[in-house]
Symmetry: C2
Subunit: 259 residues, 2 copies
Amino acid sequence: MQDTSKSPDAAMAFSTAERTSLYRTIFSRRDVRSQFRPDPIPDDVLGRVLLAAHHAPSVGFMQPWNFIVIRGEAKKRQIQALFTEANEEAARQFDDERAAAYRKLKLAGILDAPVNLCITCNHDRAGPVVLGRTHVKETDLYSTVCAVQNLWLAARAEGIGIGWVSILDTSALKAALGLPDHVTPVAYLCVGYVTEFLDRPELQAKGWEKRLPLDELIMFEQWQGNKEGDPLLEAVREAQARLAEDYLAVVPDGKTETG
Amino acid sequence: MQDTSKSPDAAMAFSTAERTSLYRTIFSRRDVRSQFRPDPIPDDVLGRVLLAAHHAPSVGFMQPWNFIVIRGEAKKRQIQALFTEANEEAARQFDDERAAAYRKLKLAGILDAPVNLCITCNHDRAGPVVLGRTHVKETDLYSTVCAVQNLWLAARAEGIGIGWVSILDTSALKAALGLPDHVTPVAYLCVGYVTEFLDRPELQAKGWEKRLPLDELIMFEQWQGNKEGDPLLEAVREAQARLAEDYLAVVPDGKTETG
């Protein structure tokens, strides 16, 4: 061990301002459904956001993803029709009261967003045996989701909203996009500039679900392993309290440094 | 449409310095296996990183994740034994030449990292019918992966490395952590400060796989839909070239503004 009076991370961690930027992105990212503007996305901006997606981690460096960029009205209308059908099926699965609330929610901005983007996973990208994928076959899907989340955060920093439309029948979506059997459509995204990013997730603001307290989701050493006195839990409660106050304050002194 | 001479994103996008910080995080994030330091992670730092994970998007705001924090030597040794067994099974799946190369790679830092973290998905978190999960049941797993990626990026900005260990038998891992049937262990992560973050992904540096050109992974309107003349492809090639030169230059003028 080297002798150092500094925090062990001093050499590798980013500045307070840089860390604050990242946390700001993470905490202000939203799943956008109702606030899309029709303005086109410049190619250099969309290109950067896609490059962020491409630099996600992937199992065995497999990079299993493709990005299908949809800008034409015809294809959007075709997907919108699939969504409408699936969404009606979905509404019928809730009991009466919940179904009424469900039908009032706008859940997709397929036609409003200037760009739709389907991010797919090609299970055959790297041959039959992939390093790291020998025991959990779903890891290539997980890699693809990491790409989605990178893209989502980069988009937020660029002022672009993303809405993930998951209420679609997979077979119908595959047929509409001509995907071969060995390719799974992981995410169908609506992408566009927005009129605003909501302060809180829309389903929280509308009372559909509550934000869970993080400290109740943490366990130690094993499932249900709970050490109530663990100082990590107190640290988490403090971070939550700071975030509730101001998300720029989650990194101490972050607010002052970034103005 | 409002009349504005500014870019449509001006109000919502972050400053060049802030965007550059995010891209820096994304492009310099690594899957760490060999560079862990034993220094403990302060609770406030680990708490912040977990809070970033907790603010991932989730289907129907389901927040299906739990975080099992493992710091004890006994549990780590138990998981390390599972990894050793699975890794030997994995090596045998490659042909001779590839298997020899495989055996030379260090693929997990379970005992080196001060903290191990299992991020799980509780499929029953929000009852039998979940908004947005009616047609694709895997979406709760996808939400959990978004939490993993948020955590990975926050950790990078804090100077903390993450290594995702996927070479584990799921049943054995569930038994070791006492997970009930309705909970899936999505990611088993090694977490700790590092001696360095490598310039490039380790599997790329060691010649296991190559980075794919992003422009070849982009399609238009449908699978294999290719418009060679689409200006997005040229923009992507330019962004790739800037990144190859200097990742702080991906946002134009980013380098000058952040110094």
